[in-house]
C-alpha cells in the first residue's frame, strides 16, 4: 500500500498562501489570548480540587446547591468520569476541613446516594508561580537546544526556520486552548503541567519532520546552482511527503487511543498533542523549508550545509 507516492505538488510556488494561513492562525490565536486569556488549572493559579464520585447518578444542580449551602465557595462541574463531579475552591492548606465539609454535607443532602472522594489536589500560590517559571524555562531551553543542535547539524538558517516553525506550532495550539478553554466540561482544556509536557513534546517532535525534509535537501543540494534551489526544495518536500505524513500518522493513532481510553486526566494532553502534531506536520511542509528558501534568496550566498554527503 502506498499513499502520496511520487507526488509533484508545487508547495514552494504557493507558499505565500500557506504563510497567509499560518498568519491567520497565529493572529486569531493571539487575539483570543489577549481577549479570552488562558484557562489556567490549579497547577498554575493555585487552588483546591476535589473529585467526588457517586454510586448512582446525581444531578449537578442538586450537588451544587448542597455544596453551596454548606458554605463552600466554589465551582461544581461534571467531571469526565462516570457519575463524578469536580469541586474547585480557593487554596486551603488544610484539605481535611474541606474533605469533611464536602463529605458531611453530601452525606446529609443525598442520603440515598453514597459518594466517595476519589482525589483531592491542593496547590498553594507560591508553588503555582514557581511551576509557571519552570515551564517557561523548560520551553525556552528546549528551543535553544534545538536551535543549537540543528544549527550545528545543518546551518543557522535551517535551525532558525525550524525554531520559527516550532513557535508557530506551539502558539497555534496555545491559541486553540485559549479559544476553546472552559467551553466543555468533558474537556475543559486547562493549562496545567500535562499541557506543558505536551508543548515540549510537540516542540521536540515538530522538528523531527522538519529534519527529514532538511535531510533530503542537504542530500540533493550539494554543488547545485542557487537558481535551482527552488526546484530542489520543492522536490525534496514532495519526495519526503509520504514519510512525513506516515510518521505523524502513527503518532496520531497512538494519541487518538490515549484520548479515547486514558481518562480525563490525560484528555487535555492528548488534545494538545493531536493538534500539535497535526500543525507540526503542516509547518514542516509549508513553513520551515519555504522560510529557508526565502531567507536564502535575500542573502544570496549559496547554501553550505555541514555533513552533506
Amino acid at each position: 500500500m502506498r499513499i502520496l507516492h511520487a507526488t509533484s505538488f508545487n508547495f514552494i510556488k504557493h507558499r505565500k498562501i500557506a504563510y497567509g494561513i499560518s498568519l491567520l492562525l497565529l493572529v486569531s490565536g493571539m487575539i483570543s489570548l489577549a481577549v479570552r486569556g488562558l484557562n489556567y488549572g490549579i497547577d498554575f493559579k493555585g487552588g483546591s480540587e476535589v473529585v467526588i464520585r457517586f454510586e448512582k447518578n446525581a444531578d449537578v444542580g442538586r450537588v451544587r446547591s448542597i455544596i453551596n449551602d454548606a458554605g463552600l465557595q466554589g465551582v461544581i462541574k461534571q467531571y469526565g468520569l462516570a457519575r463524578s463531579f469536580l469541586l474547585r475552591t480557593d487554596f486551603q492548606g488544610e484539605t481535611s476541613t474541606l474533605k469533611s465539609l464536602v463529605s458531611g454535607s453530601l452525606r446529609d443532602g443525598l442520603p440515598g446516594n453514597p459518594h466517595e472522594i476519589v482525589s483531592i489536589q491542593a496547590v498553594g500560590p507560591s508553588i503555582a508561580s514557581d511551576l509557571k517559571w519552570s515551564a517557561m524555562k523548560a520551553l525556552l531551553a528546549a528551543l535553544a537546544a534545538i536551535l543549537l543542535y540543528v544549527g550545528i547539524r545543518f546551518e543557522i538558517k535551517f535551525a532558525t526556520a525550524g525554531v520559527i516553525a516550532i513557535f508557530h506550532d506551539v502558539l497555534t495550539v496555545l491559541g486553540l486552548f485559549s479559544l476553546l478553554g472552559g467551553v466543555s466540561d468533558f474537556m475543559p482544556l486547562e493549562i496545567d503541567q500535562s499541557i506543558i509536557a505536551a508543548f515540549l513534546t510537540i516542540a521536540g517532535y515538530s522538528i523531527t519532520d522538519t529534519v527529514v525534509v532538511y535531510d533530503r535537501i542537504r542530500e540533493r543540494i550539494k554543488g547545485q546552482r542557487p537558481s535551482d534551489y527552488e526546484k530542489i526544495f520543492n522536490e525534496s518536500i514532495n519526495q519526503t511527503l509520504s514519510r512525513t505524513v506516515i510518521t505523524s500518522g502513527t503518532l496520531l493513532l497512538a494519541i487518538i487511543v490515549l484520548f479515547i481510553f486514558a481518562g480525563p486526566a490525560i484528555r487535555g494532553f492528548a488534545f494538545a498533542m493531536f493538534f500539535g502534531v497535526l500543525v507540526g506536520t503542516y509547518s514542516s511542509i509549508f513553513v520551515a523549508a519555504p522560510i529557508v528558501l526565502d531567507w536564502q534568496r535575500r542573502s544570496k550566498a549559496p547554501i553550505k550545509l555541514r555533513g552533506a554527503a
Partner: protein, 599 residues
C-alpha cells in the same frame, strides 16, 4: 555473518535481561493472585508465612506503581525559614518587623531563596544585617553565608525529623526529598488516614515546661484587660452604632465580634474558645500582661456536672524552665488512676539535673506542660523529681497520645512547616487509572502494529517485533531502576509506540525509493538503512533533549512521562535499527523475503 552473530547475542542478552528484570513483577502478581484465590483466611495466612521470603523479594524488585495508580498522598511542605530567621535575630525593632513583612510578602509568591530576599530588602533599606544578626563586626556577606548555612541545616534537620516520624508511623517505602532551599517533597503510598498523617507531619511539637503565676496575678491581669478593652472598644465601636438596632444575623457576625467586646474570665466555654484565642493573640492585649508572662488556653476542656465544657486560662512565665530538647524517650500509655491516655517521658542527664533543680525549688507551685502553645496539664509539684521523669496528660485519645509519642521521640522541627501542595488519590480512582492505562497500551499497540503490517507487509512485522522489544525494555528499565510507573508514564509509553516506528517508516520509505530506482533488494536495504540514519538520529536527539528538559524542569507525575519517553526514544534507536536490520539480514537470502515484502 560474524557481525550478525554479535548482534544476535546482543539482542538475546538484552531480551533476557529485560525479562529477568520483569520476572519479580510477574511473581509478585502471581503470588498476590494466589493469596486472593485461597478460600479461608487461615489458608492464606499459612501461605503467607510459608512463602514470606519469596513474596518480600518479589515485591521489592517488582515494578513500582506511582501514587496516582496505587493511591496515596503527594505532599510538598515548606519550612518556614522566616520563622527561623526571626529566631536568630536580636535587637528586633519596628524597622526589622517592617523589613520582615516585606520579605514575607515577596517570598509568598516565589520559590526564591529567603535569605537572598532578606539581604536584598536590607540593602534597599540601607541597613546592615549585622544590626540584627550575629556579631556587629560581621559583614553582610558573612551573615548571609551563616544564615544560608542555618537554613540548609534546618531543611535537612526537618527532613530527618519528618522521616523519623513517618518511619515510626509506619508507611511502606516513603519518599522524602528536599527541593530547593526550603521545600520537602513527601510521597506516601497507600495512606488511609490522611488527616492524621497531615497532623503528624506538621506538628512542630514544641514542648515547654513553664511556671504558672499565682491565681491573684491572673485575676488582676484579666481585670486589667477587661477594663482597658471595654473602654477602647466602646470608643472604637461608636461609629458602628448604625448596626445597633439590627438583629445579629450570621452575615454580620464578623462586625458584631469586633464591635462588642466580651470580657475574659478564668475559664472560657467551648463556644467562645476561638474568640478568646483571637483576643490573646492581639498585640494590645499582650501589652497589658505583666513582664515576661503570657496567657495560654488549655488543650482540652473540663466538664462540669451539668455537662458543659470549659477551657481554662493560664498565666505562665514566658521564658520556659525547660524545653522538649531534653526528652530522650516517650511512651504512650493509660494513666494509673484513670483511663485517660498519657505520655510518659524521660530526659537526658542535663535535663534530669535541671528538672530536679526546678521541681525542688518550686514545691507546692504549679508547672504547666505546654505543647505548641497550649497547656496540656498544670500539675502541682509535690516533691523534687530526681530521675527526669515527667508526664503529659490531658490527652483526649490514645491515638493522639501515640502520635505525640512519635513526635516527641522524633524530635522537634527546627521551624514550623506548612503544606503548600497536596495531591491525594484514592485507591479506587487508582485502579480506574490502571485499567485506563492498560486499555491505552493494548489499543495503542494494536493500532500502530496493524497499521505497520497493512502498510509495509512483512517488513511491518519486523518493525512490530522491534516495537515489542522496545516496550519490554522501557518497562524493565523502570522496574530495574525502581522508578515508579505513573499514568503520565503510561501515556509516555503509548506515545513512544507511535514514535518508535517512525525510524522504521523512514528506513522503509527509503528502501522503497531505492527499489523504485531499480536497485537490487539487498543493495536497496543496505542503502536504505545507511541513508535514513542521519534523519533518524537527528530526530531522536531533538525528541530526547525535549524529554530531558521536561524531566529537569518538570515535577512529580510529569517526570514520569519524561522518563518513559526518554527510555523509549533511546531504546527505539536500537530496536528499530539493529533488530529490524538483523531480521532482514537473516531472511534476505531466503524465499521468505522479496521485493514485495516492503509493501
Amino acid at each position: 555473518m560474524k557481525q550478525n552473530r554479535v548482534k544476535i547475542l546482543l539482542i538475546v542478552v538484552i531480551t533476557i535481561v529485560s525479562v529477568w528484570s520483569l520476572y519479580p513483577t510477574y511473581r509478585d502478581y502471581a503470588l498476590t493472585k494466589k493469596i486472593e484465590s485461597l478460600a479461608s483466611s487461615r489458608d492464606s495466612l499459612q501461605f503467607l508465612l510459608d512463602h514470606r521470603n519469596e513474596i518480600e523479594q518479589a515485591r521489592e524488585k517488582s515494578l513500582k506503581l506511582g501514587l496516582d495508580l496505587k493511591g496515596g498522598m503527594h505532599l510538598v511542605m515548606e519550612v518556614d525559614l522566616l520563622d527561623l530567621i526571626d529566631q536568630k535575630a536580636w535587637n528586633k525593632d519596628e524597622r526589622f518587623y517592617r523589613i520582615m513583612a516585606n520579605v514575607k510578602s515577596r517570598s509568598a509568591n516565589s520559590g526564591a531563596n529567603v535569605v537572598d530576599l532578606l539581604a536584598s530588602e536590607f540593602r534597599k533599606e540601607n541597613v546592615r544585617l549585622s544590626r540584627y544578626f550575629y556579631d556587629i563586626r560581621n559583614s553582610d556577606r558573612e551573615i548571609v553565608d551563616k544564615l544560608n548555612k542555618e537554613a540548609q541545616d534546618a531543611l535537612s534537620r526537618a527532613k530527618e525529623v519528618i522521616r523519623n516520624r513517618i518511619d515510626q508511623y509506619g508507611v511502606a517505602e516513603p519518599v522524602i526529598q528536599a527541593q530547593g532551599t526550603r521545600r520537602l517533597i513527601i510521597e506516601l503510598s497507600g495512606v488511609t488516614d490522611e488527616a492524621r498523617v497531615r497532623k503528624l507531619l506538621k506538628g512542630t511539637a514544641k514542648l515547654e515546661f513553664k511556671l504558672l503565676k499565682d491565681r491573684e496575678t491572673l485575676l488582676r491581669t484579666l481585670d486589667r484587660i477587661n477594663t482597658t478593652l471595654s473602654q477602647s472598644d466602646a470608643a472604637g465601636a461608636a461609629p458602628d452604632s448604625a448596626f445597633a438596632g439590627m438583629p445579629p444575623t450570621g452575615a454580620d457576625s464578623l462586625v458584631q465580634k469586633s464591635a462588642s467586646f466580651r470580657p475574659l474570665f478564668e475559664v472560657a466555654d467551648e463556644y467562645s474558645r476561638d474568640y478568646v484565642a483571637s483576643l490573646l493573640a492581639r498585640e494590645d492585649v499582650r501589652a497589658l500582661l505583666p513582664q515576661d508572662t503570657e496567657l495560654l488556653l488549655s488543650a482540652k476542656p473540663d466538664e462540669n456536672v451539668k455537662g458543659e465544657k470549659f477551657y481554662s486560662l493560664f498565666l505562665v512565665k514566658k521564658s520556659p524552665e525547660l524545653t522538649g530538647g531534653v526528652i530522650t524517650e516517650a511512651k504512650a500509655t493509660f494513666g494509673s488512676q484513670n483511663v485517660q491516655p498519657e505520655v510518659l517521658m524521660e530526659m537526658n542527664s542535663e535535663g534530669t539535673a535541671k528538672w530536679a533543680r526546678i521541681t525542688g525549688a518550686n514545691i507546692g507551685k504549679r508547672i504547666a506542660i505546654v505543647l505548641d502553645g497550649v497547656v496540656y496539664s498544670a500539675p502541682v509539684v509535690q516533691s523534687k523529681i530526681p530521675n527526669g521523669n515527667s508526664v503529659i496528660n490531658g490527652i483526649s485519645s490514645l491515638e493522639e497520645a501515640k502520635d505525640l509519642e512519635i513526635i516527641l521521640k522524633a524530635g522537634a522541627l527546627p521551624a514550623p512547616v506548612r503544606i503548600i501542595e497536596e495531591r491525594t488519590v484514592g485507591p479506587s480512582l487508582g485502579s480506574d487509572y490502571i485499567r485506563a492505562g492498560m486499555l491505552s497500551i493494548i489499543w495503542g499497540f494494536t493500532a500502530v502494529a496493524l497499521f505497520m503490517i497493512v502498510y509495509y507487509h512483512k517488513a511491518g512485522i519486523a518493525a512490530d517485533l522491534a516495537l515489542v522489544l522496545n516496550i519490554l525494555i522501557v518497562i524493565s528499565v523502570l522496574a530495574g531502576f525502581s522508578a515508579a510507573l505513573t499514568l503520565p508514564g503510561i501515556a509516555g509509553i503509548v506515545l513512544t509506540m507511535g514514535m518508535a516506528v517512525d525510524a522504521n517508516v523512514l528506513i522503509y520509505e527509503r528502501i522503497r525509493e531505492e527499489l523504485d530506482e531499480g536497485k537490487q533488494l539487498k543493495l536497496a536495504v543496505d542503502t536504505g538503512y545507511k541513508k535514513a540514519f542521519s534523519s533518524i538520529f537527528d530526530s531522536h536527539v531533538t525528541t530526547l533533549s525535549a524529554a530531558f528538559l521536561l524531566y529537569v524542569y518538570g515535577i512529580g507525575p510529569i517526570q514520569g512521562f519524561a522518563v518513559t519517553l526518554m527510555i523509549g526514544t533511546a531504546a527505539s534507536l536500537f530496536t528499530a535499527i539493529v533488530v529490524t536490520r538483523l531480521i532482514f539480514d537473516l531472511l534476505l537470502g531466503t524465499s521468505f523475503m522479496n521485493e514485495k515484502s516492503f509493501g
